[in-house]
Amino acid sequence: MADSPKLVNLTVDGKPVSAPAGTLLIEACKNTGIEVPSFCYYPNLSLQGACRMCLVRVEKMPKLQTACTTGIAEGMVVVTDSDEIRQARKSMVEMLLGNHPLDCPVCDAGGECELQDMTFSYGAAESKFIELKQHRDEQQWSPVVYFDRPRCILCYRCVRVCGEGMDVWALGVDNRGAVSTIVPNQKDHLECEECGMCIDICPVGALTSGAYRYKTRPWEMKHVGTTCTHCADGCKTTLGVRRAETGMEIVRGDNRDKSGINGDFLCIKGRYGFDFCNNEDRLTQPLVRRGGRLVPATWEEAFEVIGKRFKSIVDREGGRAIGVIGSTRTTNEENYLLQKFARLLLGTNNIDHHRTADFPAFVAAIHGKSNATATMRDVYNAPAILLIGNDPTDEHPLLAWQIRNNVRLHNARLYIVNSRPIKLRRQATSFTQVPSEIDFTTFLGGDESRGSNVAREGWNTLREKLRAEQGLVIIFGSEIFGQGIQALAKFAASVPGAKLVCLGDYANSRGAADMGLYPDLLPGYSPISSAAKLHQEWKTLPEAPGMNIPQMFEAAKTGQLKALYVIGANPVGRLNILHSGLNNTFLVVQDMFLTETAALAEVVLPAANAYEKAGTFTNTCGDIQILKKAGDVTTTKPDFEMIVRIADAMGFDVHKLVPFGHGVHADMGQSRGAQSGEADQHSVWLEANGLEPKVSPFDPMAILDEIQRLVPGYDVSRLELMAGNDQHTSIAAMGSGSVQSPELIVPAKNNLFTSGTLGRYSRALNSVIENKDPEPAEEVSAD
């Protein structure tokens, strides 16, 4: 850490202000609560000085100065508000309005437009311009991006965020002066990452999105901050919801709330990939197989069928005959509840999930070490980063953003080791291409037998450089597993302050692993034999390790597995399981869609998704974050409720499953209509005051209690969590983990525009894929 820069003292509007040397005047003012208006200035983007809205009077300087480009200086005396300044700003607004179409009543930005706000503040409602407005038709640049040229005020924020922030450089400026115009990289259309950063950063309605344009007005929506359900990075996304026939419909995703770990960032999936919720193929009724066909049934019928069959199988053959497959997109509470259901009710350890990273080996490698893991925020602030394997630009868009912008804004050193020339090498201090990533980690760990002589020489130099780094963050993909992680952890331990990040692929891959969706590991990676605390709490626990997914399907084929309970996963589609392999197995599936797996089921229950429920997710770094219910399709249920209902239908005392009913009775507010989500707000207040509701067996917070009590490393501040802040769990405090067979780890290989089943049902994502040139866009160079 460099010494903190010295403080500079100045006077703004008569008030003494001090800020670190190097601060821009506009920021120094903002920090003391004085707002200087701006259009083109945007924190962390290069300075533009284009709009001249930020004019202020600095004593001893001849003309008004732009506060966004003026650095503060000792003794500076500044006036930010006077007749002269208001007049200057008013003229600026008047100029901008000169050719502005003033179609606010239909413009997407109306109601949250910075130009509207400025016009309101500076009152340039009358204009001296009598010229006819120059109209230009709206242009569609991609399925996502639309451009309405006359609305553009030429602040160049879009150009800068696409280039500097995204490293895509897809937007530019043609012509000059009054006829300048923003243009896309392919003359009349865009070839880009479709992130929508340019759209959200646009202060007016010049750039609009295919997903939201002309759909509704900002004040007609309720805005709910929750966590993205796509990749494993855990961006905070704000969903705009509106009443619909089916419940509450999500109409927009953005990140107006910049408090998340992602700051300004969202990729296309977080911003526009919510529309799977509204897909017409969504299941809205329980289905039960009768006469060979899946036919609609009531919830009660469905639960009864499942309860009876599960109970009779358990009674006759014991838990061995039932398997459970969990999800990487259900909440921690649901995952925990599911394995508790399996172990406590069904009496089986036959539970697994789609593994995308070797978390058990990771926890084994860093067991007991404090501060061994990095947060997503660390990746943005660390002085140095070592990235081994993976292609974050495609697979972990937020991680890539954090890395890029750390390099750009904080001069972080980035060392990349990869078998492919990934795009992030453009930001790298050094890029080392290796035949296999695991050879390199083995080398780092001290085993120098792999790789050619020449390669080893290079690796050695790199290793010395890495050893000299302070506060190195080491990030590795699924190329590294088992012993490779051991070797890496050993190396990390030799570098003072080094921290690790293990990359899994889905929104709650990490949570599924942490919550014990393993046949041989309990929540918190405790081996089955060493779970004294859980034994105490639950009284009974099956002792034999269970079957993993391939073993379950094998057992189904041979007729040993009598029932299979699948939640939010599609193993049949993913592993190409033959229909006949499940002929003798009672299959129950909870999902949003009739996936390949659901199509074979005896009972299918229509599930709510992560945007339609409360709970928590843990991202790949181990940052736990809250989910808040935004959308609502009335005929579906959260997986949590369905698990509890099945337990009840089996005749089980659900109090033993969910410790509810100890809390207070509370007015939880409306759960529908414009005030929906009030229930969530009440819960925040109650939580903050130590009054936890837990009045219902369907309240995930009751299970969160148990998780926080029994899963080591999850004892984070509940208040911070409820307030929407990310909290870091410590995986190193958990159990001893285990060495898994690597062939069970199958990376999702999702790219920017795919997202497993959710992606298949997202029109926004599919329209982009269909629209793409078959040839991947060439990388273009930076400015």
Partner: protein
Amino acid sequence: MRFSDQFEARFTEMLTHYPTKRSVLVPTLLYAQDEAGFLSDEVITEIAGRLDLTELDVRNVISYYSMLTTKPRGKFNVQVCRNISCLLRGADELIEHCEKKLGIAHKGTTPDGLFSFEEVECIGACSWAPAAQVNYDFHENLTAEKMDRILDEYRTKVQ
């Protein structure tokens, strides 16, 4: 894409003048245009590649300068100034005259491909307004008659 040896020699030489490659963009474009007549997609791709710039960047720069063009022009590009000094001394009439004489409007090209015509901003010849530029030659203190003579001279040049 092949340029002349002279172009290549100049290009290599220019690269040594600046700390960053992109700085030679504008003169490179100008020389390339002199050779190829206009800046085609092919030329843009080539120059962007050489200077590690995006094609978008190169096109943005071209669009900034009225001297640079991405469309074929006539052999002689007649640019008549219509900024304040020239306007005060009859640029409007001159422009109208040119348009009539050549039978084309702003940014047009004659069917025989000989002349293009455009109005431009100040060309820095205010003291001799009204002024015009034909390719790299300046013509000053213009009147309709003088303009006719000039255009005829160009026409005879090619015959």
